[in-house]
Symmetry: C2
Subunit: 410 residues, 2 copies
């Protein structure tokens, strides 16, 4: 009897009927002979109502109090799931993050899991219970409730799978798996049967809808993660360590695994900054202090002691970022600040690329042949990313998907 | 600097504006030089929505899961209150029942407080925080969440006041205090400045809107309880131990303190039951097993080996009770079961009555003079209760209020 950790997202739990539907899936997995620990997110958009209330009583609610408020959403969904299973004649019990032994540091709103103490879960499994765990939340040593950041119910699930030594962590969501590209942009996009952790990490960081921290955790503890739909019975995509891949698969299969896209991108250029040590820190520290994430940074070659600094932020952060940057730019003696809000990021990802030259030039040539201008370039060992106009990102994705023959099965 | 425990009920916290209003009151109490621990109920009718969800996923949700579900209501209101105080520039922190050290037994849905471990509250007070505690909830030794039963946020507040050695427990609600009678029935009803624990216990058990367990707790630990409105600044009513009353007050003040009424009463009579040992148990055990509370029980004198058993239940429990009783009555060889759904209970209460004869006969005479028929009678040392027609309960209350001169100040 294998131990299975499953996770169900908020859209799979939007109302009582969906909760009952998911309860049916969990019961079926138990009938297949598994012990089940199921991690649940909050129901649909239930946390929006809580945020509105918080905003009505306070301009700047404290992170500690917000975390207690958020955490109630998962408490509600996990008790309802346990009730639904009980009404089907199953033994089931809900556990909060604290009860499930999810210990975190004290970074309220974005806490890191420090440890998993699975004693209570194991005891409940031994009593024959299906264990439903409130995702997204943990508890500090001082027994204060924390939350793990956006999308972090995935992280709860993978951490529990690691802590419990589960055979696999199954993440059920509103997509049927991981695709070679965003199917809304590329009609030929194909669902992958399997993908490596590192590749998935790049895809997730660069557009695919999954929490990167949960993939890192799966990679570190070597927990295979299955992504599948909570509605149908399609097999989904298995994310796993390279060691368990088919032998010599690298030789025969395509070395590009997928194309990631992100259309929430804006670019800021600070012109004519005096080129001396500490410039970058002066520019980016104030942004970090305001909670604005900077993604790609490019510094031009220095001309006559001055340089241009260009970087990207989320489009939604642009107005706030420009405010911060304008002040700093003046202090740095800049000639001015320009920005472009209508950009997108497109990446080709694949572990096979690191040993094989020519992928970058093929990518640039394909974009050029399609008349798509490249604004910025950045690469990692297994990823090549270009910033292009938002208008052309679908064309770019389609052209690259076809050029790297991603529509063909492995 | 005295320590004050306050409690605010759900109607005082129905929306963001009322929460901010209550935050203002708490801040004012701090400005008066007090350390404050404030216990809050769930917002308005927020738990109704949770109950509907539970009913949609399960016919018979388990008590343990329901308790976790209920407990989220107070978590939401206590974090919002802490945020509202913080936005006014106050140091404040919310604590769940578990964090506040409210330890209970394992009777989910109706748990009893076993112990209060106030270490965390004391530490937060020492840090200069106003401490907001989620009412109505506690935690078992196994760290499972429990709730304390209807209206039990009062109990949380009194237990904390006892555990912390607070000077007084202030309960703010939607009434301005304890009255000599229900002002909706008796226009002359007068607010009491003070009342003894035992008298309040009888009033609370017999109609006045307060949780009896909290009064018992105040009596046992000698914690004075102030009942007042959360809106105005009227002084309210102080409930306290007899020892602290004005000396010889028993001599000069009226020995009847108040009139309690309850219109949710129905009567069941099981006719012609064979009079042998065990009859009462056979009749009332099945009702208890179904969770139906029986209040007043009268057994007629036996005539030719048969007797009539009459008892009252809540009108809202009558259909369910009749189902249960009909089955049992047949087994007991009864001649039949009759019921009356339109009854009310009226009680006069006062500690002074126990040493002074004549109160009962005065009560019966007053009702008779007003043409009000008495269906059943029951008494305690400090209370006389009659069951009368529901139609006549206002007349009865008004007549008794006037006869015992309750409109006159102490």
């Amino acid at each position: 009897m294998a131990l299975l950790v499953q996770k169900y997202g908020g859209s799979s739990l939007a109302d009582a009927d969906r909760i009952k539907g998911v309860a049916g899936r969990i019961a079926a997995a138990q009938d297949d002979g598994h012990k089940i620990v199921a991690v649940v997110s909050a129901m649909g958009d239930s946390t929006d109502a809580l945020l509105r209330l918080a905003q009505q009583v306070s301009d700047r609610p404290s992170a500690r109090e917000l975390d207690v408020l958020w955490s109630t959403g998962e408490l509600v969904s996990c008790t309802l799931m346990a009730m639904a299973l009980q009404s089907m004649g199953r033994r089931a019990i809900s556990l909060s993050g604290a009860q499930a032994g999810i210990r975190t540091n004290m970074s309220f709103g974005n806490a890191m899991i420090a440890d998993v103490e699975p004693a209570r879960i194991l005891a409940e499994l031994d009593r024959g219970n299906i264990v439903i765990v409130a995702g997204f939340q943990g508890v500090t040593e001082a027994m204060d409730v924390t939350t793990l950041g956006r999308g972090a119910s995935d992280t709860t699930a993978v951490a529990l799978a690691a802590g419990l030594g589960a055979a696999v962590c199954e993440i059920y969501t509103d997509v049927t798996g991981i695709y070679t590209a965003d199917p809304r942009l590329v009609p030929d996009a194909r669902k992958l049967e399997e993908i490596g952790f590192e590749e998935m990490l790049e895809l997730a960081s660069y557009g695919a809808k999954m929490n990167p921290r949960s993939i890192e955790l799966g990679m570190v503890y070597d927990v295979p993660i299955k992504i599948a739909s909570s509605l149908g019975d399609e097999p989904g995509t298995l994310i796993h360590g390279g060691a368990t891949m088919k032998p010599s698969v690298g030789e025969i299969r395509n070395r590009v695994r997928g194309i990631a896209t992100d259309t929430n991108v804006a670019k800021i250029t600070v012109l004519g900054v005096v080129d001396r040590p500490g410039i970058a820190a002066s520019l980016f520290e104030p942004l970090a202090n305001e909670g604005i994430s900077v993604d790609i940074i490019v510094q031009n070659a220095s001309v006559e002691g001055a340089t241009d600094m260009t970087f990207t932020v989320k489009r939604t952060d642009l107005p706030h970022a420009l405010e911060v940057v304008s002040t700093v730019a003046t202090e740095l003696g800049s000639r001015g600040v320009v920005s472009d809000a209508d950009l997108a990021k497109i990446s080709v990802v694949g572990t096979g690329m690191q040993d094989a030259p020519g992928y970058a030039s093929t990518m640039f040539r394909t974009l050029a042949d399609n008349g798509i201008n490249i604004e910025m370039i950045t690469t990692s060992e297994i990823r090549i990313t270009c910033i292009v106009s938002k208008d052309r990102v679908a064309d770019a994705a389609t052209a690259l998907h076809s050029r790297f023959q991603l529509e063909k099965p492995d």
